[in-house]
């Protein structure tokens, strides 16, 4: 169970919104429930991330710019390493840092492995066979229609590398986003010479995702309240989805007009300005240096083991 500073009753799943069907009769969620679940899940994850970022952990104490730069270096290193042992060590390192940052090992493992690395594992499973990756067969699977089938060592090691690499890359990104508050991340992006206009658009987009999300939630909750029976009329359902997406666009456009007027009233002339000046501290240098050293050791180890 995820723990947050949000009141417990807000996080209690309702009968209709329970994803696993543990309350009441289990049934397949329809499109209304699923969209509501997605909207709720999005809010929950965001609230949790903001909560986690304010804890007193190792990475929370580091500056956003240093984490961004260090994370990028480590992501690149993980992409360049080809030995599964080195990747496993890198993954375990991220796990250790997650624990030191008070994210909880169990939660962190669940958050990372569900669902992309698991999905990747299933997808690359056929690639272990000699049909797709030819090589030395280590696990023969018999003869099928006159063709010798088996798991090759090349295929198995390739599959292992890709799964662990995907997990390590996701761990690095999750570490960054769970330990950094959104406002700090924006400052970090600005300090790393990302164009100011992009940062402004990005920050506004992120903020208005939640404003529009409330509209979506209202529309779908109203729809759910009006539906007495779960009729599963897919054609009407699709019409409703299209109409709600269309209505949402109308509202979004009206909102952008209002926001524009509000910005003009506050003196906006089409250029982004910021008052904060980014300064580099000794701590930031240490964080980046640690990331660079770990990357060099990983790449060196990869070369030695290869």
């Amino acid at each position: 169970m995820i723990t947050t500073a949000t009141p417990e009753w807000l996080l209690q799943p309702e009968v209709a919104l329970c994803p696993c069907g543990c309350i009441g009769r289990r049934r397949k969620a329809n499109f209304v429930d699923k969209t509501l679940q997605n909207a709720g899940g999005l809010l929950l994850r965001t609230m949790f991330a903001e909560d986690a970022a304010t804890r007193d952990g190792l990475l929370q104490r580091c500056d956003a710019r240093a984490k961004l730069a260090g994370g990028a270096v480590l992501l690149l290193a993980a992409a360049l390493v080809h030995d599964v042992r080195v990747l496993v060590v890198l993954y375990l390192l991220t796990l250790a840092v997650a624990v030191a940052s008070k994210l909880g090992a169990k939660f962190f493992v669940q958050r990372v492995w569900l669902f992309v690395p698991l999905f990747t594992g299933i997808v690359v499973l056929p690639a272990t066979l000699n049909v797709i990756t030819p090589g030395r067969i280590v696990v023969p699977l018999g003869t099928w229609f006159g063709y010798h089938l088996g798991v090759t060592s090349q295929g198995a090691s390739s599959a292992a590398v890709i799964v662990v690499r995907v997990a390590t890359s996701i761990s690095l990104v999750v570490l960054l986003t769970l330990t950094t508050r959104f406002a700090d991340l924006l400052t970090g992006l600005r300090a790393l010479r990302v164009p100011r206009l992009f940062v402004l658009v990005f920050s506004m987009a992120y903020r208005y995702v939640f404003v529009l999300l409330a509209t979506v939630d209202d529309m779908y909750t109203a729809r759910k309240a009006r539906a007495v029976l779960d009729t599963r009329n897919t054609k009407r359902g699709r019409q409703f989805v299209a109409a709600s997406a269309g209505a949402l666009f109308g509202r979004a456009h009206a909102l952008s007009d209002e926001v524009h007027h509000a910005m003009l009233a506050r003196g906006f002339r089409g250029e982004a300005r910021s008052l904060r000046v980014a300064r580099v501290s000794a701590n930031d240098v240490v964080v980046v240096l640690v990331a660079v050293v770990v990357s060099i050791v990983a790449l060196g180890g990869d070369r030695v083991l290869r």
Binding site: K34, T35, A79
Partner: protein, 350 residues
């Protein structure tokens, strides 16, 4: 279709990231020039909308649901350049905050879904909606068609990006270092999924939204359709131009020398003995083929060549010219004859 980190080599990621830089720069400049200081709120809220469209669950007949990307929808509503920026920002939020799509692979994801998809889809939409009024039902169909083609183009790009990995990046003993499947496996798999379910969902949502806005909020459609007549009655029909037909034919004429590069021969085209029947498990040449092959020998440029077989390239091109002239003369003759006959009919009726 969101590619996570680890599937593509850093070189591939860098290539696509580099390819997207001029696209983003151009998109930023173009959109800013059109909407000026409205740029920031319009694009930002467009991006937020794009992010949420990817969250809408569309019901499909088997009782499950699927979600759309919506890039072509945004291209139809705000124009393709605005779609590039909006979808790119939405993908960035997804990659950074929700782990959907990689950070290193961001350039490749943006290339597929924020560049190829809106441009291909919007191109199809524009072609299919020429000479249609703003509220014409066929315009909504054109948008659906564009969405279908755009999504499949993006899926094809993603499949190619995956598929080249094992050939380009493998270790000395043949271990693939990144995505392990070859082009021959990735392209059919990705296209099967997208040509059937995902493409249909994308088309249905895009069609549905445009059809809804045609009924409920036409001014919104005006944002990207200035000067388009609102109803069929207001439409001024220009005569169908010959230009496009001529451009198509001219392209084919320019491409004729490609035939010189084509290896081999068509299946038993010239002589029955060219037909390697044994290859197909046949013992004899079919009787009809043997009898009627070579039935007419009195040709000028036999097999698109001179009788002696000299100067094959010149003979091939000469054959092309003769063919084009002959076909054009025939078409013009039939056209002239039909014009004359219809004029005579009109006179007689008068």
């Amino acid at each position: 279709m969101h590619i996570p980190d680890g599937y593509l080599s850093p070189a591939t990621c860098a290539t696509f990231g580099g390819a997207m830089v001029p696209v983003w720069a151009t998109a930023g400049r173009k959109v800013k020039r059109v909407v000026r200081s409205r740029y920031v709120p319009l694009v930002a809220i467009g991006a937020a909308y794009s992010f949420l469209v990817m969250m809408f669950n569309v019901p499909i007949p088997d009782g499950t649901t699927a979600h759309a990307v919506g890039a072509v929808l945004i291209a139809c509503l705000l124009g393709p350049w605005a779609a590039v920026v909006a979808v790119s920002v939405a993908l960035f939020i997804q990659a950074l905050f929700f782990g959907d799509g990689g950070v290193l692979a961001y350039g490749a994801n943006a290339f597929n879904m924020a560049f190829v998809m809106p441009f291909v889809g919007y191109g199809v939409y524009r072609l299919a909606s020429r000479r249609l009024s703003l509220t014409s039902p066929r315009r909504a169909l054109a948008a659906g068609m564009g969405a279908y083609v755009g999504l499949n183009a993006a899926a094809l790009c993603a499949a190619i990006e995956f598929g080249v990995q094992p050939d380009l990046f493998r270790s000395a003993n043949g271990t693939p270092l990144y995505a392990p499947f070859h082009l021959s496996q990735t392209v059919p798999t990705m296209l099967f999924a997208h040509l059937t379910v995902a493409g249909a969902v994308e088309a249905v949502l895009t069609f549905g939204v445009i059809a809804y806005l045609q009924r409920a909020n036409v001014p919104i459609l005006r944002i990207n359709h200035r000067g388009v007549a609102e109803t069929d009655a207001e439409l001024t029909r220009a005569p169908l131009g010959w230009r496009w037909a001529l451009i198509g034919i001219a392209t084919m004429v320019v491409l004729t020398p490609l035939g010189l590069l084509a290896p081999g021969r068509a299946f038993g085209e010239d002589r029955a003995r060219d037909l390697n029947a044994g290859k197909y498990g046949l013992r004899v040449v079919p009787a009809g083929l043997a009898r009627y092959n070579g039935f007419w020998e009195h040709t000028v440029l036999r097999s698109y060549g001179f009788g002696a077989g000299s100067h094959p390239a010149v003979a091939y091109l000469l054959s092309a010219v003769v063919g084009i002239v002959a076909v054009s003369a025939l078409v013009l003759g039939v056209y002239g004859l039909s014009r004359t006959l219809s004029r005579r009919n009109a006179r007689e009726l008068a």
